[in-house]
Symmetry: C2
Subunit: 275 residues, 2 copies
DNA sequence: ACAATAGTGTCTATTAGACAATATGTA
DNA sequence: TACATATTGTCTAATAGACACTATTGT
């Protein structure tokens, strides 16, 4: 039937711009769903990619770990819901990055059925403020590698979501300024390099890495020296210079991922398979 | 409140895995939404990027053009819903690309409220079969440039969705084999080049373009000659060789977009703004 | 012959990869 | 001094950009 699009079935819908579901409607022809917003919030700590998880108290998947998230309210946008849930459940109120990345709606993904979830990818450099959730019950950072190795039982389809999110982050690292979201307002180049290495799970040549970052145009550079220096590490070493992000990131990251000539992964086109 | 995640508010939910909305529920604490699936299906015709639109018959935005789409059913996945709607409304049953790309849920996006839509990006090379929708009422291809210039009145927030979709397609063109989805099983290099040029709205050097495509590894190349040749055009010219896509596209396209040093577009990180 | 489209070659500038060498701190 | 980390430099390979040139068709 080629006809009304994004449209309720052509019945007489006698309701206004109210946000509630209509009174008398045929549920089979006019299905409704719960809509939740989940947030994959990442950070790199000591060269390791971490993800913030909260422990469930309620019954389905009780005690399992899950992505922070919750219900979209009828009067808020998806973006607003993501901000709100992130703040409410983890205390993080100013992530350096927060953007939608995929939506999951498989009928079987929630045992209670009919729950469509819009997932956001968030990034924050600071770790200290993370666990200081409002009235935090149990929220903590887990190494992504451990979680994806199955060391932690995740609720619902959250393991798959996490896997997809990490993959997306790795892609975006190459085409955007996402890397700078993992570090503070000032940072050392080693710190920044460790972000790339953690997410790509690969070693980068230090010299080449630094050269890439110094390659912006004269007016818009990738990193700008602050003149300051951080303290040397406990085991010594030359104190690193502190930089801040420049304006050149608009065209994406100057650091390119090495060709992964690993497993010739099969066709990935038709249906990236968000569900 | 850090607690139940992706969880209904902790009330006694006395329902099974049924797919209908629960009987007696507090709508404010337990809101539900209509979920639709819309499809931005693109094609390149005569060097011009086109999008398939259908004309609305029902009241909100009656007679306006809209993206094909419709309701997700409770027992189907989002991907399945996208396939179904695409087939039902446009007759396209085998797009060469179909993948989710963003979800829109602003409370004001539908005058009737509470409609969250999951949008898919589809690509097909063939034009002939497109308009042969099952019982097509009015569906046709429009030049994307015209539509985005406001020459066509689009329903809901579909103009914005289209704009986002085109941008996404342009990005993916660089990092995937998306370009090959716009051409048939065999194609000429000029055809393939016109795909890039249409979507990036830029001219590419023919020589350099062809060199890029010839640059895959010995075992996995980007294009493989079929030995065949297409007929020359009406105005003459050397008959072009026909190629088919090789296995080298796994690492993305060998054709890179020129740096667009145009308007120094403002920060695009926090909230790409899907709504 | 001439116009039109397809396809090749060549020179140079830029960028990427490997790796050596130097600088400056702590134990 | 020994060690550890930071920072710079150098040589070479690969890729990108600009552009000239050849090839094969239709009118």
């Amino acid at each position: 039937m080629l006809s009304a699009v994004t449209d309720k079935p052509t019945k007489k819908r006698s309701r206004k711009a109210g946000h509630q579901a209509p009174e008398g409607y045929d549920a089979s022809a006019y299905p409704t769903f719960s809509v939740t917003v989940d947030v994959v919030i990442m950070s790199v700590v000591d060269g390791q990619l971490m993800v913030l998880l909260v422990q469930r108290q309620a019954d389905p998947y009780k005690d399992a770990w899950a992505l922070p998230g919750g219900f979209k309210q009828p009067d808020e946008s998806l973006d607003a819901a993501a901000f709100r849930e992130l703040r409410e459940e983890t205390g993080v109120d100013a992530p350096k990055h927060l953007a939608q990345f995929a939506t999951y709606g498989d009928p079987a993904r929630d045992p209670r059925g009919n729950v469509v979830t819009v997932v956001y990818l968030a990034v924050t450099p600071e770790v200290g403020s993370i666990e200081a959730g409002t009235d935090a019950d149990d929220a903590r950072l887990w190494p992504v590698s451990s979680v994806l190795d199955g060391d932690v039982a995740l609720a619902f389809d959250h393991e798959r979501i996490l896997r997809d999110a990490v993959e997306r982050a790795a892609d975006q690292l190459e085409g955007s300024d996402l890397a700078t979201a993992f570090v503070g307002p000032t940072f050392t180049l080693s710190e920044l390099q460790s972000v790339y290495e953690a997410i790509w799970d690969d070693q980068l040549d230090t010299g080449n890495f630094r050269r890439s970052l110094s390659m912006g145009s004269p007016d818009a550079s990738y990193v700008v020296s602050t003149g300051e220096r951080a303290a040397a590490g406990p085991k010594g070493g030359r104190p690193p210079e502190l930089f801040e992000a420049g304006d050149a990131w608009i065209d994406g990251s100057p650091v390119k991922r090495a060709k992964r000539r690993t497993t010739k992964q099969s066709e990935q086109r038709m249906n990236s398979g968000n569900e």
